[in-house]
């Protein structure tokens, strides 16, 4: 392992790079390095969901939802269900159901403080992704929740997004990552189990409950929980 030099010492057994603090660039410097985008590039940015965007969302079973709180602290979380689970209501509005989760509700508490939201939609097999940005609010409207019902279960809440920008993001990141290639799935065998994540985090936090949190038992809890998706 190389000397850590003037950087902060590595914590625990994480592989320490030679340093972890670097020169910070300003906007002008970043622009200098990036260069200017082709003028045509900006033309693909819509201020609404056109028929192509609507078709993309209707076939997307998964998206990432980025929000931040009133202080601007950011968070990103996954949402997924039947393809088209995020329902386009008109060309400026879409709705995302709240499904069974961990009840932390980070996205909801953020949206209530700060409506700005960024979404990234994925269609399995497609390398392009759809970016949708806008302002969101949370509702318990009964009709809307009925429309978002799935497998006989009506969500308690829905997030409504008023679209301000939408565009297709090019596929290079997914091509380079080979995200949808079946042979990439062996990577999943190499990461710690969810129970390990939970048990280790509780131990590291020194929580009194940590003693009872055994990774294998937690993994069984996850497995049982995964039987109940709605």
């Amino acid at each position: 392992m190389a000397s850590s030099g003037s950087a902060a010492p590595a914590r625990d057994d994480a592989a320490a790079p030679w340093k972890t603090r670097f020169r910070r660039l300003g906007g002008a410097q970043v622009r200098d390095l990036l260069g200017e985008p082709d003028p045509e590039t900006r033309l693909k940015i819509l201020d609404h969901l056109d028929r192509n965007c609507r078709a993309f969302i209707a076939h997307a079973p998964f998206c990432c939802l980025a929000t931040s709180n009133g202080a601007g602290e950011a968070d990103c979380s996954p949402r997924g269900d039947y393809p088209g689970f995020a329902r386009v209501l008109d060309e400026n509005t879409l709705a995302v159901p709240d499904r069974l989760g961990n009840k932390l509700g980070d996205s909801f508490t953020n949206i209530v403080e700060n409506p700005h939201i960024g979404m990234l939609f994925f269609v399995p097999g497609a390398v392009e992704t759809l970016r949708v940005n806008g302002r969101a609010y949370v509702t318990d409207d009964r009709d809307l929740r009925t429309m978002l019902e799935q497998d006989g279960v009506r969500p308690q809440m829905a997030t409504v997004v008023e679209v301000e920008a939408a565009y297709l993001h090019c596929g290079r990141a997914l091509l380079r990552s080979r995200l949808w290639e079946p042979d990439m799935k062996d990577l999943a065998d190499e990461i710690p189990s969810p129970g390990t994540f939970w048990a280790d985090a509780a131990k590291a936090a020194g929580a009194a409950e940590a003693a009872g949190l055994d990774a294998e038992r937690l993994d069984r809890l996850f497995e049982a929980g995964y039987q109940e998706l709605y």
């Binding site: 609507r54 078709a55 209707a58 076939h59 079973p61 269900d81 039947y82 393809p83 088209g84 689970f85 329902r87 009709d143 009925t146 429309m147 978002l148 019902e149 799935q150 497998d151 006989g152 049982a224 039987q227």
Partner: protein, 313 residues
Amino acid sequence: MMLREGGRLLTVVRTERQARDIVALDLTDPAGEPLPAWEPGAHIDVQLVTRHLRQYSLCGDPGDRSRYRIAVLRERLSRGASAYVHSFLRVGKRVRVWEPRNHFALEPAERYVFLAGGVGITPILPMVVQADRTGVPWKLAYSVRTREDAAFSDELAALDGDVTVRATSTEGRLDLPTYLGPGEAGTAVYCCGPPAFVDAVQDAMAGWPDGALRVERFVPAPVDFGPGQPFTAVCASTGKRVRVDADVSLMTALRRAKVPVPGACLRGTCGSCCVKVLAGVPQHRDAILPPDTMDRIHPCVSRSATPEIVLDL
């Protein structure tokens, strides 16, 4: 959410707007193979590429084995499927389809009265055509909200019979007791429509002979079966015993025990989750099977009347 096993992919070869919110779709086998036969009243399970699984009545010509015809109402509060069909299911696209099933078969009678409410016309239309062809006297009342909501105008106009199309928003509701008249032996009444329509028909037929009315509901009639009792389901092939608690459906208990049963409506109307019963007495809570059926069960809503029920799983 998964692709259900079996079935076959059919191609949409024609779409036709039948009414303001109803589109008719013609489906054929891509290799031109003949499709399984069906009788009026039958429906098929249709799974979209979005994995939504829905039931649609066949409303084409049973004599034409080359195609199935379904008609899909765009629901005001679509839960996904009908909105998808209307927005994206175009000629050349494919859907997965299973063999027709019939819980609403047209039984022989001296004369028929057909009552359709809204998109409930779909199973009724082939019945009317069959009665017309076979020379059995019939009449049809078709209740729609407005004239723009009436489907199959051409097909109905081609029939030489007593067809009443009633636009309730301008003409008010059909006077059912007058239309139906007193109950007459030999008359069979076939009714399909939204819950309020079916309820009104049932009320109007209170004095009719038992069994004169055959109904297909979009939504099951609310029936209070009281609280469920716990029981044990036994899977015959493995001997696996699955405890079904009072507040859990048989289907959910099976799924938790990793014996998944595919289901579509989950409320006892579609019949897609049907499982054979080998021993024990089923307590039917669905809208399809007669209460004395012993050999089958719909585990989405039905339970066991005996402490143990053995299933062909």
